[in-house]
Amino acid sequence: MIEITHLKKSFGKQEVLKDVSFKIQKGQVVTILGPSGSGKTTFLRCINFLERAEEGELRIGDTRINLRKASRKEILNVRRRTAFVFQNYGLFYHKTALQNVMEGLVVVQKIPKDEARKRAEAALEWVGLSNRKDFYPSQLSGGQQQRVGIARAVALNPEVILFDEPTSALDPEWVGETLDVIKKVAKKGITMIIVTHEMSFAEEVSDKVVFMDGGSVVEEGTPKEIFTNPKEERTKKFLARIIPQDMYYI
């Protein structure tokens, strides 16, 4: 289980997150929705210390960590138990798809190279890219790069995978294949927190939907509650503007 309590973060005078609390059970898929600038990406990045929060506490399993004062060791510990999928893929340019997946297994988890290679190959096959394993990121399409990114995250066998708008940098034709892979990850029972703008995907895949605006959680509930019967005025307004346009794609 992962729980974040009273998370606060600001950039200069701009308050980005105002006291956000959040809970996710093991095996759950939670999607975070909200307009740009609502702080959802910053929230995600605070969890694995890509941004340093000003206040807040993180509970992951039995460990409690102060998000502001965490030591280098604690940060490394959290990062080794989580995985992150970036909006712009974040693949290592100088490594092939296979080496990208192997890097964390060999260097961080100290798995012998042969074993790591087998696992990495399996992960790439699982996302349907075994024929591209020796390609460099520059030789792959956006969708393929993002699938390698997902394979890299899954292969690490983390307690939670954080997805930061995994499809918003992709061409419409590659969004589908990437979402399919994320659905596959969800079916595996891995805990996931997904920041996304893909409404129908969010509705289909998540156990819980969180709607954020202006740095705080406005409303949370099951996909059904949020999408068909939102309580807050702000959520209604947001969904009314987004959904018809989204229907267009389906």
């Binding site: 694995n48 890509l50 490394l76 990062r79 260097v107 961080v108």
Partner: protein, 235 residues
């Protein structure tokens, strides 16, 4: 002005005889400056408090100092203060027993380190932020991310600038002749002192410098080709 091929070949022999001096000056300076310059660039890139501000200031000031001026200043300081320093450290060698090339090394390394650091810093800035983040996110430490992810990507970006720096260093070694060190130029001009005809000597020195730079540049380009295999060729 006449040109005697006999004198030219004498000068060429003289120049080649002193090629090892220039070679050693170049290679040692290059390797040590690469290390120091790289360290300066990394410290400034990670914005280490105090040290990075000091280095930024130092590099800016020092880059404005011509190598020749630095060289004669250090040489003067060396000449006038050697006795005191030697007495302090109980060194029994007299100044005439010390090879003045150490002053040459000192000034070459200091100025090269500053210019290399700027080349490397420029290359570091070209690497996207997400590469650091991706390294941290899979659980690599700061140091592991630096040498497993950032530095390998830095090499192909930095090499063209560093080749340029290397050629600059080769040319810089020529200036140490000002403090009485014999290198390619001195070797080429030694026979000229007898014939009173300097054209051959200058041309011989130019030829050897040019060949030397050409060989080193070609070698460095090989490294460049090897390190860029992951970048897509668009041009």
């Amino acid at each position: 002005m006449s040109f005697s091929s006999e004198n030219f070949f004498d000068s060429l022999q003289g120049a080649i005889a002193y090629l090892p001096v220039t070679f050693k000056l170049t290679i040692y300076t290059f390797v040590i400056s690469l290390f120091i310059g790289g360290t300066i660039a990394i410290i400034r890139n990670y914005k280490v408090p105090m040290i990075s501000q000091f280095l930024a200031w130092f590099v800016t000031i020092y880059n404005g100092l011509p190598l020749m001026v630095a060289l004669v200043i250090y040489n003067l300081l060396f000449m006038t203060n050697y006795d005191n320093v030697a007495r302090f450290f109980h060194i029994s060698k007299t100044i005439s027993e010390i090879n003045p090339v150490i002053v040459g090394y000192f000034s070459l390394i200091l100025s090269s380190s500053c210019s290399y650091s700027e080349t490397i810093r420029g290359a570091l800035q070209s690497i996207e932020q997400v590469q650091y983040e991706a390294g941290y996110a899979i659980g690599l430490s700061k140091l592991q991310t630096l040498y497993r992810i950032i530095l390998p990507q830095l090499v192909p970006v930095a090499i063209p600038g560093l080749i340029n720096n290397l050629v600059g260093t080769i040319k810089g070694t020529n200036l140490v002749s000002a403090i009485g060190i014999l290198e390619i130029m001195g070797g080429a001009l030694t026979p000229c002192a007898l014939s009173y005809s300097y054209l051959e000597g200058y041309l011989a020195a130019a030829l050897v410098y040019w060949l030397f730079s050409f060989v080193l540049e070609t070698l460095a380009k090989q490294i460049e080709v090897r390190s860029t295999k992951f970048r897509r060729q668009i041009v």
